[in-house]
């Protein structure tokens, strides 16, 4: 995925990576680490974004907010959003809203480790994904950051 995300580019000037809190962060760190290795002479721009205040279900369930840290401008940049699992697409919808409050990126792409196909509730698709899986609604998918295992239960 990391290679796919940068394959058409020979520098990182206009490219920024933003992981979605909380569970996109370990995927993001990993990807940022690999890409930094590919461009040892450049500093990768990597940030984390919390979307709690942009959720469409805050009247149903209250989530605890996490840190947002984007120490660079996203104006006119190509933004690669990173999360662990793409399911209904609602988190990404919130993330797109949140991103707007930081500026107007030239392009936003989505990179997820796991794509739960056919479960989308919004017209949102990933540009890069690690693996696509088919699941029932009743099943839960979780990625364990320590072992990097994908758990289905």
């Amino acid at each position: 995925m990391a290679h796919q995300a940068v394959e058409q580019y020979d520098h990182l000037h206009d490219l920024v990576f933003i992981a979605i809190q909380p569970r996109g962060v370990f995927v993001g760190q990993k990807i940022a680490g690999i890409i930094q290795g590919l461009f040892p002479n450049e500093k990768i721009q990597y940030g984390v974004l919390d979307i709690t205040f942009y959720r469409d279900d805050i009247r149903k369930e209250l989530h605890t907010a996490n840190e947002t840290h984007i120490p660079f401008s996203i104006e006119n940049k190509r933004v690669v959003l990173i999360d662990d699992v793409l399911y209904t697409g609602r988190t990404i919808r919130a993330a797109l809203d949140a991103l707007q409050d930081f500026g107007r990126p030239r392009k936003v792409e989505l990179c997820v480790l796991i794509d739960r196909r056919f479960k989308r509730e919004l017209p949102i698709q990933a540009d890069y994904f690690g693996r696509a899986i088919d699941t029932h609604d009743s099943q839960k998918v979780k990625v364990n950051p320590e072992t990097e295992e994908v758990l289905l239960y």
Partner: protein, 312 residues
């Protein structure tokens, strides 16, 4: 994580976990306030009325900004110029406003317990106390705590002194409850006439009648306003004498040879409880307190709005 309560009536009613959750959420809102667009859509579907039966600058503006930054709709009400002067009761006024589909009430009132009274009669409306008489001012204590944590790294084990009119101060009472719950040590200092007699036993705080001694003891000094409107009660002989005996002057501060943090909830009486060169000095975080107030109030409104819908 959720608050254990549907209203914010006072710090007395909060659990330590509630206080931690509010302060932690406030830190995230503080980041929101640094963004190019300082606004989130969280409370887009919520209407909030700000009922101010007593004058206010900071608290009122701070609440209103917090509501707007959360995208809530707001209505402002002040007792002067309303039907209160025609004799309408508090409950009637609020019920009339609520019938126009208002979700939450932020209220300041000169009567202690007024928000508790409303909460009892309107259990399904989120009520936030913005200061009630001489009882509590919970959001002020929360923003004071947030500012102390930001400046010194934590509350646990910190020594905080509240200086001045403890007797009539809702800021003092809320601060004492909060700091004690979060494991800080608290002292009150000032003239004996302005410190309740049994406060040591009742609230578990240290008492000092010597401001120099209190400053040497503390890490943080929160200087309270001398309430000039209570001057006719002759609790001290003159403002000048108060300033000489209990005011925080540059010379006093320099004489203790220790770095302490100076706070004040505003409005300041310059040259009475605090001198200008201290209020504007390097130890002072008075303006940071005001800045943090918006983030802390956003956290309170956000967490209570989530709680409110749960009931409905």
């Amino acid at each position: 994580m959720q608050l254990s309560t549907k209203h914010l009536l006072g710090i007395k009613e909060l659990e330590p976990a509630d206080i931690s959750l509010i302060l932690q959420t406030a830190a995230q809102f503080k980041e929101v306030l640094q963004r190019p667009i300082k606004k989130v859509p969280s409370l887009r579907d919520i209407t909030i009325v700000n009922l101010f039966y007593e004058n206010s600058t900071r608290t009122r503006i701070s609440f209103e900004l917090a509501e707007k930054r959360l995208s809530a709709d707001t209505i402002n009400f002040s007792a002067s110029g309303s039907s209160v002067s025609k004799g309408e009761t508090l409950l009637d006024t609020v019920n009339n406003i609520l019938s126009m589909k208002v979700d939450m009430v932020v209220m300041r009132h000169s009567a202690s317990g007024a928000p508790h009274f409303l909460a009892k009669h309107l259990p399904n409306t989120g009520i936030i106390n913005a200061g009630d008489g001489i009882n509590e001012h919970p959001t002020q204590a929360l923003l004071d705590a947030f500012s102390i944590m930001e400046k010194t790294g934590g509350l646990e084990g910190k020594k905080v002194v509240l200086i001045g009119d403890i007797m009539h101060s809702r800021v003092a009472l809320s601060n004492i409850y909060l700091l004690k719950k979060m494991g800080a040590e608290v002292m009150v200092a000032g003239p004996p006439t302005l410190i309740p007699k049994h406060i040591r036993e009742a609230l578990g705080v240290e008492v000092s009648y010597n401001v120099g001694e209190a400053l040497r003891w503390c890490d943080v000094a929160n200087v309270l306003r001398i309430q000039l409107e209570r001057q006719n009660q002759v609790l001290f002989s003159s403002l000048r004498e108060y300033n000489l005996a209990f005011g925080i002057s540059r010379r006093l501060l320099d004489s203790i040879k220790k770095d302490i943090v100076i706070m004040h909830p505003g409005p300041i009486n310059r040259g009475v409880e605090i001198d200008s060169d201290v209020a504007d000095g390097r130890e002072s975080i008075i303006l940071q307190q005001v800045e943090n107030g918006v983030a802390v109030r956003m956290a309170v409104l956000y967490l209570l709005a989530g709680k409110k819908s749960e009931a409905s």
